[in-house]
Amino acid sequence: MLIDMIKSSDDMYLYEINDQFFILDPYSQMFWFVKDLEDDSLLSNIDQLKKYNFFKQTKELVIDIKELKEDIKHIVINPTFECNLDCWYCYSRDYHHIDFERISLIDIQRTISYFADYKNKLNSTTPLAVSMFFTSEITLDFSLFKEVERYVNQIKKEYNFDFYLFPASTNLMSLSDEFVDFINEYGYVNVSLDLENKEQIETVLKNISRFDATVVKHCIIPLNSKMINLFSTYSTYMKSFNYVSMRPVRVTPNSKIPWTEKSVSDFKLELVKLIEKLLSLNEEELLDFLYKLGSSDYLARFIDRIISRKRYYKRCLAGKNEIAISPDMNFYPCSGLIGIEKYKIGSMSEGLFSNNITEFKKSKDIFTLECKECPIRYYCGGPCEDWKSKLNIKKIEEINHIECLVNHVYFKNAIFLVSKLCANKRVIISNYAEEKGIENRLSYPLNFEDFVLFFS
């Protein structure tokens, strides 16, 4: 009866994970263990907390969020689609064999100046980050990157904001001395590794040693639904890299390894095994593993958000603060959406299309989409339009339930791990939060009865 009541409420959610019950307040993002669901006092305890505005939305906040002004913070210039690999999940794979003319250096310079001037008109003081080669392999055209670096260094003094130029991740299949020297000085390298490609694995493990030991090395592994032995995979690459991230691939239903309801369900078991393994490690081993999860790792993403209780209302910056430029000089919200006409939000010759940008924003608005009733909306931030387009979901108001399934699987396993650590090894949570520079907002009693006692 009580379970049914909680389950039917939009304001609180009941989770059962490995025989452990949790109540989640989606607004404050606080959660508590519940020992006995048949306890008669549970209902009155919930009512007691409601008097103090737990399990309630702060409506004014939503309005404030919508009125926030947008600014361009990141542009991604994609001069070509040229690549020396043909990865099955790549979002620009369909374009690799089309002979696009490369954007000239002059056009790249014009593009950077266009967005810098745009920021100037907004009196923006936030930095302008410029990335390159999200749709191609950077090492194949590295001299162009160096030319752009020279240009950015030349113009940045003319503006009241900082500029940052980021090299894209590389597949490390071919390395020039010039690229190695650059990375050794830059101090950071992102490597994208396809675990389905044995030749790439061998090459990457050989080539990564060409960088200085001081270079921070981050391995990004596109995660597919058939991956098994996650702990072993992480551990293998943590030996050669400082950080490892696994992030779900966004692929079509016809791809080599699609995400389906069945495959998400299978993958869930692998994630459960990973969490069990992590909980069996000693404190030092576990912290070492958690520290080495990279910035784009999906498990770390949810662990961090559960600990910090940060309230995400944007899935990402695409189309809001971030613009991708295609080789034919058109603008898109994200490099994954390049070439799809309905997502075009401008071009160098026509400028930015404000109507198309507004429409795109609607597709990500967690306050109007189905997301508004999702218990983990503030942990997730809303749907990924790139993934939605891969599944050919056309309606703005329709969300991608496969992505939701994946996010819920990650959330449940992450909250189980965090709650177990809070109960038995709180020092791990505080050390991890300190190392990652996130605020630990889980210092309250996680036992629901103890928490309510304070407010009684």
Binding site: M30, Y52, L61, K310, R311, Y312, K314, R441, F455
Partner: protein, 61 residues
């Protein structure tokens, strides 16, 4: 002074002048003094929920 009651980083107690005091133990800062205990609890609840501080607009994909 009454016995302290704690909830995570926050504690409340009654001082010598009969005020209900709310303290953040992370920096030992007194957040407020209230005539009624319920108002003090309400203040702790607001800090625990901490809506504005938790807002995050930046996110990677």
């Amino acid at each position: 002074m009454s016995d302290k009651e704690t909830c995570g980083d926050f504690e409340i107690y009654k001082d010598e002048e009969n005020w209900w005091v709310v303290k953040d133990t992370r920096d030992n800062k007194i957040i407020g003094k209230f005539q009624k205990k319920d108002d003090a609890l309400e203040k702790v609840a607001v800090f625990l929920q901490d809506d504005e501080e938790r807002l995050e607009s930046e996110s990677t994909c």
